[in-house]
């Protein structure tokens, strides 16, 4: 492996950490649906997808560990909420099914754009994994795109619930596209397509097409970054999530889990 300079290492951490945290948090929230989804097939599908997301996060955490951060276990189980860099909207507690499908579809589109752009990185340990992840994520996107369409074109009620879900999520999407602080690190990594403005543009273009095809009302202007989860700014929802997630470990933190 090529020897990385200090600034390259810092830039890679700045890039990978938010992506890892996003994947972990959606994976965890997804796991909370286990046995509660509308039907058995969906239960299988969603638990499979959630397991996959946690696996992707684990790959990124191991990469971060190789760049000098603590181990995956420590990053997941011992970090306080302020150390997490996931987008704040992703920590929202699960609501009704339409809300979850809406959030996941909006997220998976961004995830797809982000992963495609990551393939342009010169850091091979990253691109090797991303190539693999894309083969798997294809199924996630397909799944939530189908779910989104089913709700939009199903019954009056399903469509209404979907629209309400989107309306709730939309104003809080801002930091999903953001990075913590300056974006100079993206230049160092040669990944200009991951700049916030670029991500927003690519995402909006794809989203406009979906909304047009499904004749859904456009929810309004794209929100700015009010709070930035990338800088560790989080709601109480994340602390509660972490309390539940680490509950067993907290019983005896020194046990060899």
């Amino acid at each position: 492996m090529a020897n990385l300079g200090e600034s390259e290492t810092r830039a890679l951490i700045q890039l990978i950490k938010p992506i890892a945290d996003d994947e972990w948090i959606v994976g965890h929230r997804g796991s909370e649906w286990l046995a509660l989804t509308p039907d058995l097939e969906e239960d299988l599908a969603f638990s499979s997808i959630s397991q996959d997301e946690l696996g992707h996060a684990q790959f990124y955490y191991e990469l971060l560990h190789s760049l000098g951060l603590p181990s995956a276990d420590e990053l997941v189980y011992l970090r306080p909420a302020s150390g997490w860099t996931n987008a704040q909207v992703l920590e929202t507690p699960n609501q009704d099914w339409a809300h979850t499908v809406a959030l996941r579809y909006l997220y998976e589109i961004l995830d797809d754009i982000r992963h495609e752009a990551l393939l342009g990185s010169w850091y091979q340990p990253l691109t090797d994994g991303v190539r693999k992840i894309r083969m798997e994520e294809k199924y996630h996107l397909q799944h939530f795109a189908t779910g989104f369409e089913l709700l939009a074109t199903g019954t009056e009620l399903s469509r209404q619930r979907l629209i309400e879900g989107i309306a709730d999520i939309w104003p809080r999407l801002g930091d999903l596209f953001a990075w913590g602080g300056s974006e100079e690190f993206l230049e160092k990594l040669g990944l200009p397509n991951l700049a916030q403005a670029q991500l927003r543009h690519s995402w909006t273009t794809r989203m406009e097409k979906t909304f047009h095809d499904l004749e859904l009302p456009w929810p309004g202007p794209m929100p700015g970054v009010n709070v930035n989860g990338r800088n560790g700014e989080h709601s109480q929802n994340l602390s509660k999530l972490l309390d539940v997630m680490t509950e067993v470990r907290q019983i005896d933190v020194n046990s060899p889990w």
Partner: protein, 148 residues
């Protein structure tokens, strides 16, 4: 002790997929480079799916199978696993176990009765690598390894 390649490959072909006892990790296409130096062996394993919970178990089983040597196991990502890496023997083992092997075409053959009159139920089965199908002729639901 000098370890031979035959010895290592034979040991690895005894490490089975934890869910399909007749399918070895060699037939599954998970074994990448094997480097032998005296009694030191390095085995590169290729993960099928990154989130597969069986990976740790498989690693431990490889270490156990080669415990007479000084073995190091690495997970490598340079060459991503694809379902086309399953060997002919592996495909046969899958069918005998009641799981349809991956296919390049739309046609999926029922592993129980051999009928092609099958329908796709869901891209998600009970594990990451499998999709759900249903055979219209023998009325049997079954799983197929995802084509990736």
């Amino acid at each position: 002790m000098t370890v031979t390649r035959e010895h290592v490959m034979s040991a690895l072909s005894q490490v089975m997929d934890p869910e399909i006892p007749s399918l070895s990790i060699v037939d599954l296409g998970m074994v990448g480079d094997v480097m032998i130096d005296g009694d030191s062996v390095r085995v590169d394993l290729i993960p099928t799916f990154l989130g597969c919970p069986a990976l740790d178990l498989i690693q431990r089983n490889v270490e156990r199978a080669l415990s007479e040597t000084s073995v190091t196991v690495r997970w490598v990502h340079e060459r991503p696993w694809s379902s086309s890496m399953i060997s002919r023997h592996g495909r046969q083992a899958l069918t005998e176990w009641g799981v349809a092997p991956p296919s390049d075409t739309e046609e999926v053959v029922c592993p129980f009765c051999g009928s092609c009159n099958t329908s796709h139920q869901s891209p998600f089965g009970h594990s990451l690598c499998k999709a759900l199908y249903y055979c219209q002729d023998c009325s049997q639901p079954f799983e197929k390894i995802k084509t990736i």
